[in-house]
Amino acid sequence: MKLGDLTLSQLHHRLADNDLALRTGPFVTRIHSPMLQVAESLLQLYADFPLDEGEFRDFHVRVGPPLGLRRWLRPQINFWYDGHSPFKPLPANHAFALLEWGLNWCVAGHAHHYLMLHAAVLEKNGRAVVLPGDPGAGKSTLTAALMLSGWRLLSDEITLVDRDDGLLVGLARPVSLKNASIDVIRRAFPDAVIGAPAYDTHKGTVAHVRPSADSVARVGEKARPAWVVFPRWREGCPARLNPHSRADAFLHTASHAFNYSLLGGLGFELNAALMDACACHDFEYSNLDEALQVFSELAA
């Protein structure tokens, strides 16, 4: 059964009753939330995802108002991981954004059976591109644009490297867009489904793009890494790839990874094997169409 098979009211009730478990790639998360906003956003962005009816869940999370008198003064929202809240409360209208951050936190904080790099990852024709990127470099914009033009999304935030075979494992969760990039994607892809923006978060305005049906349907297929590309958006710059040294790409991904040092020697070996399997590039762009052209030539 898919999440989209439920009506909004059914979904809302199951979330409120703590009776909804969502499968995103290798993880099953039980989500508990009385918030209608969470139900609406899930229905809009996660409709293609399967529900899990089994008895085992990897993560148990809740998004809802904090207890105590304060909630009557100012509506707030918090995230709980099995009774423990790792974040500070946020304004109530950030509920869905908080759930998304919480789900990332669950994976990044627990899934140490993978090497977890801080990078987006997409696949085309059996080959995957890993996109590490500093905040503001245009990584999410590029990720959303690639997904909306036929690349299969594995993840916009966490690249999971399987410790047994070095292949990349997908989550296919929505792409998080920030500030100006929301309108850039809206203009370039008028058909894209973009959730309600959360304004004035610590990352500015945040909105999520619904993952393509193909990405969700094929989330179980691991992908073979082929390229590591460091995107950078620069005003007026023609789209072009430049070689990037593998050694530097190694150091950059290792130092930005979620658990490189935790995995010790294994982390080194997995990341080294990833770099060995990949051609590494810098990529500067200002125009999305040009950027997509370069990537489709790359994957051809």
């Binding site: 290798p26 099953v28 089994g54 008895e55 085992f56 869940r57 990897d58 148990h60 099995d82 009774g83 423990h84 627990h110 899934a111 140490h112 059976h113 410790r163 658990n259 040092s261 935790l262 995995l263 010790g264 294994l266």
Partner: protein, 362 residues
């Protein structure tokens, strides 16, 4: 709720980890949550591997155990590395430097070390060398965290340790003790016998750990004398693992009782033995408990048991009984009451409350 049904399945698995081979998926779901919240998941994961059960658990569970083992391995490695840095920093001070608790278990590879997670590193130095040790640690990069004069005074005048020292680059935290209990505590104890009986470590050289009996007594006194029960069950598991291993020597029990008498820690030892036996089925002879140097009067025992049981069960919402909140509050108050007499405690609590108020209004 009786103890037999409380904290299940975690409690049964801690009593007999071989039970992991036959748990169903639903129980695993709960076990991973309870063990994760108690800080015991890595321990179970490592035990599963040691017992050859890694491949007999359901496929959905395997990744969690693999991940938890990675965390344990990393922490073990990190604590060894950090201990070497401490040894190097304190190489020149007179008198022994002892690793305590988690760091001691890990470096000496004692039974609780398997899969144990760490917070801070605790060390014990002779009171006379405290200033020297602090200066040497500061030179090596550890500094007391940003605290006001009141905190500094509070620690230095009344406590058995310096304010926590954080390494300026690594962010690791070191607790430097000169005694097991605060100067103001109801129970007075002395660290001298512990320093005298310390065992030298081969690696890193220059560091020591307490004798077996003293490791047990320190763990007991830490657990049953403080008001913080977040890691209560994990600490009880440490005690259980040590008692099971050390008791293989017939001289252990008499030595432990004599030591408890000497260090004036009979009461926490009694509570530790009683809880270990009831919670984890630790094999402890009746006559050892009967011979404990300080036992609570019979009328107090059921009350103390229910308090400690609630404290130990506070690890996860599915373990808590009906009066959990009240019980943990009473334990918190008890912890403070044991720490210092009322004429010191009340002004201290008032100061903390006012400061919190000021910070919120800022």
């Amino acid at each position: 709720m009786t103890l037999a049904r409380q904290c299940q399945p975690l409690l049964d698995i801690l009593r007999d980890p071989r039970g992991m081979a036959t748990l169903d998926l639903k129980s695993w779901d709960l076990l991973l949550r309870q063990a994760g919240a108690a800080g015991l998941l890595s321990r179970l994961a490592v035990l599963a591997e040691m017992l050859g059960l890694s491949n007999r658990v359901p496929d959905a569970v395997k990744p969690h155990l693999t991940a938890a083992r990675s965390v344990a391995t990393k922490q073990r490695q990190a604590v060894r590395w950090e201990a070497r840095r401490v040894a190097r920093a304190l190489a020149d001070i007179d008198g022994p430097v002892l690793l305590l608790k988690g760091a001691a278990y890990a470096i000496a590879d004692l039974p609780p070390a398997a899969g144990r997670l760490f917070g801070d590193i605790d060390i014990l130095v002779p009171r006379a060398q405290l200033d020297q040790a602090e200066a040497a640690l500061m030179l090596a990069g550890w500094h007391t965290q940003k605290q006001d004069d009141y905190d500094q005074r509070y620690y230095r005048r009344w406590m058995h340790e310096l304010p926590p020292m954080t390494h300026i680059r690594r962010g690791t935290v070191l607790d430097v003790h000169h005694n097991l209990l605060p100067e103001t505590a109801r129970i007075r104890t002395t660290a001298d016998p512990i320093l005298d009986a310390a065992q030298a470590l081969a690696d890193p050289t220059g560091l020591y750990i307490p004798a077996d009996t003293d490791l047990v007594l320190h763990s007991a006194c830490h657990l049953f004398h403080e008001g913080e029960w977040d890691h209560g069950l994990r600490d009880l598991v440490d005690l259980d693992a040590m008692l099971r291993a050390f008791a293989k020597s017939s001289a252990f029990w008499p030595a432990l009782l004599a030591r408890a008498q000497l260090l004036n820690l009979g009461r926490p030892l009694y509570y530790a033995l009683d809880c270990c036996r009831r919670w984890l089925h630790t094999p402890i002879p009746d006559d050892v408990i009967a011979a404990c140097p300080s036992r609570p009067p019979a009328w107090q025992r059921p009350l103390m048991r229910s308090l400690f049981d609630a404290g130990l069960a506070s690890v996860h919402p599915t373990c808590r009984g009906r009066f959990a909140r009240l019980a943990t509050f009473i334990l918190f108050v008890r912890g403070h009451y044991l720490r210092m007499p009322w004429h010191l405690l009340l002004p201290h609590l008032l100061h903390q409350a006012l400061r919190r108020n000021q910070e919120q209004n800022r």
